[in-house]
């Protein structure tokens, strides 16, 4: 009579098995979880906990009343921004700067990494790498000062250099249409070396046997780059592209603000500088939160879209 029950108590169900398995795994990797804990705490405190501050975007916030006590105003703050004269202008300028910078800044580090990878002399390769990524460590503040000094039409480095050949440098910073070029190409100079490091790492991880086989088959250097290097670092490229699209509207705020002047304002007023002026300088916390939230929503949508596209086309994606 009790044969069946006996069996069922002795042989664990699949569910029991799973919990036991999980418990065992947890026990063996406990040290890893402990290592993870501090960063998890930091993430929760500094990234997830503050999210509740977004409520401010729907309130007429006053610091004394706090988030719990400030009156709700619905979508008023959003309406105020959408009706603003600056709305389309700031969006346009932000998109121009970010898309331009994305187009330029995605292929160039790859090119640099491949170039670097082709250098055969170890010593020169190291020097080359360090020299290209060193400008990355210059602070934005100093960087903008340098840009303004170098481009000064009377006393600047560039003006003096061109003067040797009898060429007169135009006043670049006073021409609004130049702003995007100055912004993007100075960014390239500063960050291309740094951004290429990850590709150099990806390239060095490629199995040398591929190259050996290719050499045996008589492939040229160019063919090796196109047929081996590029396909193998494509997943890295796609991931980085997706991540930078997620930051598309977060154009470097300090840099734009520091390079702004009244002559290039028509092309240099972006969402974040506008938020700064209207929100922090005029203490309109709610309005600036609303604009910030709007910014984040666009970023999120773009991120998901590009991730989907990338999964369709190259089978790589963040999630």
């Amino acid at each position: 009579m009790d044969v069946r029950t006996e069996i069922s108590t002795n042989i664990p169900t699949s569910r029991d098995l799973r919990t036991r398995e999980i418990r065992r795994k947890f026990k063996t990797s406990l040290p890893l979880y402990v290592l993870l804990l501090p960063s998890l705490i930091l993430l929760v405190i500094f990234a997830y906990f503050p999210i509740y501050g977004l409520i401010m975007a729907f309130q007429d916030y006053s610091p004394i009343l706090g988030i719990s006590g400030s009156p709700f105003v619905g979508l008023d703050n959003f309406k105020q921004y959408f009706n603003s004269y600056q709305f389309l202008l700031t969006i346009k300028n932000t998109l121009v700067l970010s898309v331009y910078s994305l187009i330029v800044n995605t292929p160039l580090p790859v090119a640099l990494a491949i170039m670097c990878n082709q250098i055969r002399r170890e010593g020169f390769k190291k020097v080359f790498q360090v020299v290209t990524y060193l400008p990355h460590f210059i602070s934005t503040m100093v960087m903008c000062g340098m840009i303004l000094l170098f481009l000064s039409p009377q006393t600047g480095l560039l003006a003096n250099f061109l003067h040797l050949f009898g060429v007169k440098l135009p006043d670049i910073m006073s021409n609004a249409s130049n702003f995007a070029h100055v912004y993007v190409w100075s960014d390239v100079w500063q960050h291309v070396g740094w951004n290429s490091i990850i590709y150099i790492a990806a390239l060095s991880a490629i199995d040398p046997t591929y190259y050996e086989a290719a050499t045996m088959d008589g492939a040229t250097v160019w063919q090796k780059i196109v047929r081996i290097d590029l396909p193998l670092i494509l997943p890295t490229m796609m991931i980085l592209l997706i991540m930078s699209v997620g930051n598309l509207l977060n154009v470097g705020f300090e840099k734009v603000l520091l390079l702004q002047n009244s002559l290039n304002l028509s092309h240099s007023e972006i969402i974040s500088t506008y938020v700064y002026k209207i929100g922090l300088q005029d203490s309109q916390y709610s309005l600036s939160t609303a604009i910030g939230l709007f910014n984040t929503l666009i970023n999120g949508t773009l991120l998901i879209a590009v991730n989907w596209l990338s999964k369709k086309l190259t089978n790589t994606g963040l999630f």
Binding site: L30, P31, V34, L37, P38, I41, D60, S62, P63, I64, L65, G66, Q80, S84, Y85, Q86, C144, G145, L148, L149, S152, P153, Q154, T155, D171, M173, S174, Q260, N261, S262, L263, N264, L265, S266, E269, Y274, K277, I278, L280, D282, S283, Q284, Y285, L287
Partner: protein, 521 residues
């Protein structure tokens, strides 16, 4: 092994918690006569301001002060955290701590001072002598939440043009008296190599940089009756015309002025980098060994021109297009302030009357001199006849000495206008330099648009309008001066401003101005 790790993790957790818990120091609120006062100062100013008069007055009023001195540059970031933390100091001292927006939006946290002010004899006397003082601090709801000050001794003339007198003499010219002559002199600066280095490196009119306020630019066209309020902000383009606030940047005289500036720019009389240089470049040019600037706008020459300061003199107000002479004057922003003492509601159980007695002691001639330049025996000296001598520091600038040893521009102050003459200055004092220029030209000062107060609703609307309108005006102005085209753009520009809500913006200004006028009565 596992235990060790757990122990480490626990220790780490304790450390993190300890870091968080530090701020919850228990504050003794039991003492009814001890007040915590928060004030903002620069890092290098120190705490010497707490001694002398400020401490003596507290003793006399029977209160104890606990100072919470925050660094001015950090305060902007810390402010909203402090306000929302619920742990407010008993009072905020100095207009560097709270802005109008902060007070208006957080009224719920501050004590209405109306009843206490009735028992402040010195302040009452000051209100009677100078109604502006009362209008400055009366909020939009008719109550008083903060104490005001009137800085003294102070000039009526704001930033003004300083011109290289040595160059003028060298070129055999005279100090210009009209706009035409001014342009002639600038042309001669451009062509005559007045600094004598054989190079054509002179900049006739300079000093502008990308972050400048309007006055640096617009002093050039002052003869066109174009004014520029001190420090910009909401009222950057609002001036008084026949006792009415008007928007200056759509007037015909503004158009004429911009046209004149464009032709001066085209001729090379204005620094080609006027709108694009950064501050460091401008300072370098001002202080270069061989002077480069012919004229530039500033407070006093000795503060800015370095070794060549003695070559520069204040340009007398030029005879304008309409025959009048004008100076930029903005007394309610230059010399008056509010939010000098804001008392928080946490003090309701304390003896606020005594705190206000302490505050009232500041509104006398002697107290104002001491809080402006340093207490008797430190920065000032009471002379036998009742005059007050301002002592000159043995080393360093007198301005820095005053900031270190006194509240200077912050805190409660009022001096009777007649008493200002009884302050004895050393000629090397930096205030003296400005005051002696001011003595000559203050008669030309016209009333500016007062530093009015806005309701929270007005502030909310005008924050957006101000940013949009003022940015557009500044942008167009820079474009017209450097590239021309004001004639062509003018109608579209006016249309655009109207589309941005200029009429709503001016309605707010007029309403605020009407309230101001009521408060003067």
């Amino acid at each position: 092994m596992n235990r060790k790790i757990m122990f480490c993790a626990a220790a780490l957790g304790v450390l993190v918690l300890a870091g968080c818990g530090k701020s919850s120091q228990n504050e003794k609120t039991g003492d009814k006569n001890t007040f915590t006062i928060l004030t903002a100062r620069n890092q290098d100013w120190g705490d010497a301001f707490q001694k002398g008069f400020v401490a003596k007055a507290a003793k006399k009023a029977g209160i104890k002060l606990k100072w919470d001195v925050v660094i001015g540059s950090d305060w902007g970031d810390k402010k909203s955290v402090t306000l929302s933390s619920g742990k407010l100091p008993d009072a905020f001292l100095g207009h560097a701590t709270l802005t109008d927006q902060d007070v208006e939006k957080n009224k719920a946290a501050f004590v209405v001072l109306d009843d206490y002010i009735k028992d402040m004899p010195n302040l009452q006397k000051a209100f009677k002598e100078d109604p502006t003082l009362k209008a400055m601090c009366t909020s939009t709801d008719g109550h008083i939440y903060s104490l005001p000050n009137k800085l003294a001794p102070r000039p009526l003339v704001g930033n003004q043009i300083f011109i290289n007198k040595k160059w003028i003499d060298k070129l055999g010219m005279k100090m210009p008296t009209t706009y035409k002559e001014f342009i002639e002199v600038l042309r001669a600066f451009r062509d005559g190599d007045p600094n004598g280095n054989g190079k054509k490196d002179e900049i006739p009119y300079g000093g502008g940089s990308s972050g400048m306020s309007s006055e640096i630019l617009l002093n050039f066209v002052l003869p066109f009756k174009i004014f520029s309020p001190f420090g910009g902000g909401i009222a950057d383009n609002i001036v008084m015309d026949n006792d009415k606030p008007i928007f200056q940047a759509t007037t015909d005289r503004y158009k004429a002025a911009i046209e004149a500036m464009h032709s001066a720019y085209k001729e090379g009389l204005i620094d080609p980098q006027f709108f694009t240089a950064d501050g460091a470049q401008v300072t370098a040019k001002k202080q270069s060994k061989t002077p480069i600037y012919g004229a530039a706008v500033m407070w006093t020459a000795d503060a800015e021109f370095g070794v060549n300061a003695d070559q520069y003199e204040a340009l007398p107000p030029l005879v304008g297009e309409d025959g009048g002479r004008y100076v930029n004057s903005d007394p309610t922003r230059l010399n008056y302030n509010r939010n000098e003492l804001v008392v928080t509601k946490g003090t309701t159980k304390k003896n606020i009357k005594k705190l206000m007695k302490w505050a009232d002691a500041f509104y006398t001639n002697d107290a104002t001199a001491q809080t402006m330049y340093g207490s008797f025996g430190v920065g000032t000296k009471k002379l036998a006849n009742g005059d007050i001598q301002v002592l000159q520091p043995k080393t360093g600038s007198s301005d820095m000495f005053a900031w270190k040893n006194a509240l200077r521009d912050n805190g409660m102050k009022y001096m009777q206008p007649d008493f200002e003459k009884r302050l004895v200055f050393d000629k090397a004092n930096s205030d003296y330099a400005k005051l002696s220029i001011d003595k000559k030209y203050r008669k030309y000062a016209l009333p500016g648009f007062p530093n009015v107060m806005y309701t929270p609703e007005e502030l909310k609307t005008s924050a957006k309008l101000t940013t949009d309108i003022n940015t557009f005006v500044t942008q167009k102005r820079a474009q017209w001066i450097t590239k021309g085209g004001v004639e062509k753009d003018w109608n579209n520009y006016k249309k655009q401003l109207n589309a941005m809500g200029l009429s709503e913006f001016m309605k707010i200004q007029n309403a605020a101005y009407a309230r101001w006028q009521d408060n003067l009565k």
